[in-house]
């Protein structure tokens, strides 16, 4: 029989709180983390609001935050959330586990580009007549203006490297970056590393912020973000008829995944079991998901098969639910295809209605939400659900949380570019 993988620790830095408890309580209070962008002057951007992390101080978690002065928030949030998760699992500074059997698999995003130096540098070296940058001028300015340490910290392997180094996790070390599916995919593959016997423990999750000038620019150009002119807290409205795009969020979610036998031997508290993982590719277009949800259907089905569950066993679905026209319609179609008429009996909600879209970190924070739903017997709502869309006709837990005991929960994450991930967490039973 294959190894069972359980969740024994969690941590979160999010727009709705800097702990798992606060994150979940805020969701049950139906609060929105969205407000005007204060990280930079976005007043003339098409989108002027986002779901920012508030009052974050790495020094509240680790004694030597100055070591990470050059690091971006992707690394800083990750260290804080990892510290929480390891502490929660009773593994901080622990000498009773084999650190070579303890790995890291993150879906962490890139560090933030030095916009304030890059753009002037291009300005100085660009000739509009020839549409060419003078590379000699660019190189000369770049070697002077860019900060070597901060440039290095933008590299994509720095976050998992810092986390492993700081906490002494010497097992397998991976980072995947599959857009909005990244941290879910990381958790799924980390689970497989334990199932395959390559590690006993994996710290897995994600960390990301794209709330910076080039990030907002990129998404605005794709017209993927809500550009609502009304109350920003109303902008993220998954499954609502008047949804007009997603709202950028930021943060980190981290989970300790552990081989069940290992967890038992050290007397760990088990929050839930990770029972199902499905991973597919849309192979359709880089700009759109498949209109009939081909990849989404296949990955939900694969997760159910992996967990050995029939569709009616699922008590709650935490949707990808981005609040874009296409995602929410296609995800609804896909859920109905997989769950048949039973789909109408399964409560579905989108944490993104409150948190915004944490991009690479979204899946991890949402999976933590699913674990809490099982533990607390409460399902978080989809807020801002006011105008039903005839094409989105499931039970989206509108606007208020719901009390319900659930044993198996499905979480979806679909990446821009066609990576689809479904995870199933289950109430732990011996």
């Amino acid at each position: 029989m294959r190894k069972r993988v359980v969740i024994t620790g969690m941590g979160a830095i999010s727009p709705l709180g800097h702990s798992v408890e606060e994150l979940f309580r805020s969701q049950l209070e139906a609060r929105s983390g969205v407000g005007p962008i204060t990280l930079f002057d976005a007043s003339e951007f098409p989108t002027t609001f986002a779901s920012q992390v508030k009052n974050f101080d790495l020094g509240g978690y680790i004694p030597d935050p100055q070591r990470f002065d050059n690091s971006g928030v992707n690394t800083r949030y990750a260290l804080a959330a990892a510290h929480q998760a390891l502490g929660d699992a009773g593994l901080l500074g622990s000498s009773n586990v084999d650190s070579t059997r303890f790995g890291v698999y993150l879906g962490a995003g890139e560090g933030i580009q030095d916009f304030a130096n890059l753009i002037p540098l291009i300005r100085r070296s660009y000739s509009p007549e020839q549409n060419k940058v003078d590379t000699v001028k660019f190189a000369e300015g770049g070697t002077r203006d860019f900060h070597a340490g901060r440039e290095f910290e933008q590299e994509l392997h720095t976050t998992p490297g810092h986390v492993a180094n700081y906490f002494g996790l010497e097992g397998p070390n991976y980072n995947c970056l599959t857009a909005c599916a990244a941290s879910s995919q990381a958790i799924g593959e980390a689970c497989e590393i334990i199932r395959g016997g390559e590690a006993d423990l994996m710290l897995s999750g994600g960390s990301h912020s794209m709330i910076h000038p080039l990030g907002v620019t990129g998404f605005n150009l794709l017209t993927a973000l809500s550009a609502s002119k009304g109350d920003p807290t109303k902008a993220s409205r998954p499954f609502d008829l008047h949804r007009d795009g997603f709202v950028l969020g930021e943060g980190s979610g981290m989970l300790v995944l552990e081989d069940l036998d290992h967890a038992r031997r050290r007397g760990a508290t088990i929050y839930a079991e990770l029972t199902g993982y499905g991973s597919t590719g849309d192979a359709f277009r880089v700009t759109d998901s498949h209109p009939e949800g081909r990849g989404a259907i296949a990955c939900m089905q694969a997760a159910l098969d992996d967990a050995g569950l029939a569709p009616p066993a699922i008590g709650y679905i935490n949707a990808h639910g981005t609040s874009t026209q296409v995602n929410d319609r296609v995800e609804t179609v896909a859920i109905k295809k997989v769950f048949g008429t039973g789909a109408y009996q399964i409560p579905v909600s989108s944490s993104k209605s409150m948190l915004g879209h944490l991009i690479a970190a979204a899946g991890a924070v949402e999976l933590i939400t699913c674990v809490q739903a099982i533990r607390r017997g409460m399902l978080p709502p989809t807020i801002n659900y006011e105008f039903p869309d005839p094409e989105c006709d499931l039970d989206y837990i509108p606007n208020a949380p719901r009390q319900k005991r659930v044993d198996h929960v499905l979480s979806n994450s679909f990446g821009f570019g066609g990576q689809n991930i479904s995870l199933i967490v289950s109430r732990f039973n011996d």
């Binding site: 002037p120 180094n165 980072n175 000038p213 192979a283 694969a302």
Partner: protein, 427 residues
């Protein structure tokens, strides 16, 4: 690696490298035994401390991609264009027909790095909001006037997951699709993960690759700032000299290598030519670069392959030509191979074409597989003066290959390590 009865073999190699534009030309380049590192040509490197690179100036994705698909090339940064080209070569090499593949059992996994923006795409935007003084960008003007000057699909051209996305779209690969972003070990990690996925029966056929190019002004400036590049600008072909006493830094390169991984029975059913079997893999983290993690990754990979060090034909080293990293790597190799009954030669392919970063793992593994096929251990170029700090048997001239296994190792400066063991298919 799980105790699975499903074996994973390598049935296709697609390479685009400074040495050549397909796997045959790549091997011929290695057999020639000459470095193709030259003075940088893609742009004027004056003002940079390092002005040399392993480039592919003749690369043109249009030569590799079906006519009907060429319009999508506009949405692809250079590394993505290399990825889709290498994938096509790998599929051609595998001799697979579309109707032999179940799309839902066909996965794609790539190692990728940061994809830098083409500076010209932000040119007009910069004029509208900056006076050129460092730190001066008027964000109000940026939002109102600059943002609309940028191509609408700008961001999609630079997302790392787009290598695997585009490959999956071009070949209707609907199985698992992932992108590993772990710098120089990304490709080897992708290979290990694809093997896991096939072994656990979630795919039968996989395109696994790495593609990267830092031969552009922005990436090159950043690499220069990181400060580990060779400045032997007057003798480019001598610049990359792994484990040699006179090494002074690594050299940037560009390229792609895509490998076809396939479940053994699937390969047999379609009568595929099999190059090698992937028999061992490991991933570790070397904390504070003590060397323990790097030695451990090799030991675990060998143990999973069920072989001892003296059964290894040659070690495919990471061999950066770095002043600090080479001794670290050499000590770890010595720790693992020091007890071997015979000296196991160490081959460092970067001496030919430089560091291909996210493409280095699969490119260099391809070199080792081809070496196994040809029963030759190629020389490490520019290994002229042994460094006592690197006490390992570096291959100095071509020598007969005597054993069927290769151990390929890779690492990052942060401490991520990976190792792969492949066995030549002799059936």
């Amino acid at each position: 690696m799980s105790a699975s009865s499903r074996r994973v073999v390598l049935t296709g190699i697609g390479v685009i490298n400074p040495l050549g534009l397909n796997a045959t030309a790549y091997w011929e380049g290695i057999a020639r035994g000459q470095s193709v590192i030259k003075t940088l040509q893609a742009f004027d490197p004056a003002g940079m401390p390092s002005r040399i690179a392993g480039e592919i100036p003749t690369f043109d994705a249009k030569n590799f991609i079906d006519k009907k698909d060429r319009k999508s090339l506009r949405m692809m940064a250079r590394a993505i264009q290399m990825a889709v080209s290498g994938a096509q070569l790998a599929l051609d090499d595998a001799g697979v027909k579309k109707d032999q593949l179940d799309p839902t059992r066909f996965g794609v996994e790539f190692g990728a790095g940061l994809l830098p923006t083409e500076l010209e795409e932000l040119g007009h935007a910069s004029l509208a909001s900056s006076n050129g003084e460092p730190g001066d960008v008027d964000l109000k003007k940026w939002g109102a006037a600059s943002l609309p000057c940028i191509p609408p699909l700008w961001m999609l051209k630079y997302l790392p997951n787009m290598l695997a996305s585009h490959v999956s779209i071009l070949h209707n690969a609907q199985g698992p699709n992932n992108t590993i972003t772990e710098s120089d070990v990304a490709g080897l990690l992708a290979l290990g993960e694809a093997q896991r996925i096939i072994a656990r029966n979630q795919a039968d056929f996989f395109l696994v690759g790495g593609a990267d190019s830092k031969i552009n002004p922005l990436s090159f400036v950043r690499q220069c700032l990181f400060g580990n590049l060779s400045t032997r600008n007057d003798a480019p072909e001598k610049a990359c000299r792994p484990f040699d006493r006179l090494r002074d830094g690594s050299v940037q390169g560009e390229g792609v290598a895509v490998l076809v991984l396939e479940e053994l029975e699937h390969a047999r059913r379609r009568g595929a030519r099999i190059y090698a079997e992937l028999v061992g893999f490991a991933s570790t983290f070397d904390r504070n670069r003590s060397g323990r993690g790097l030695a451990r990754v090799m030991r675990i990979a060998l143990a999973r392959a069920g072989i001892t060090p003296d059964q290894v034909d040659h070690v495919g080293a990471h061999g950066l030509s770095s002043v600090r990293a080479d001794p670290w790597e050499a000590q770890a190799i010595k720790e693992v191979f020091g007890e071997s009954s015979r000296p196991v030669p160490v081959f460092a392919p970067k001496s030919y074409f430089g560091n291909l970063a996210a493409a280095s793992g699969t490119s260099e593994l391809a070199a080792s597989i081809l070496a196994l096929m040809h029963r030759v251990v190629p020389p490490t170029l520019n290994y002229e003066e042994p460094d006592p700090a690197c006490p390992i048997p570096v291959s100095r001239s071509a020598q007969p290959g005597t054993h069927p296994h290769v151990l390929k190792v890779g690492f990052t400066e942060m401490g991520q390590c990976a190792a792969v063991v492949c066995r030549r298919w002799d059936e």
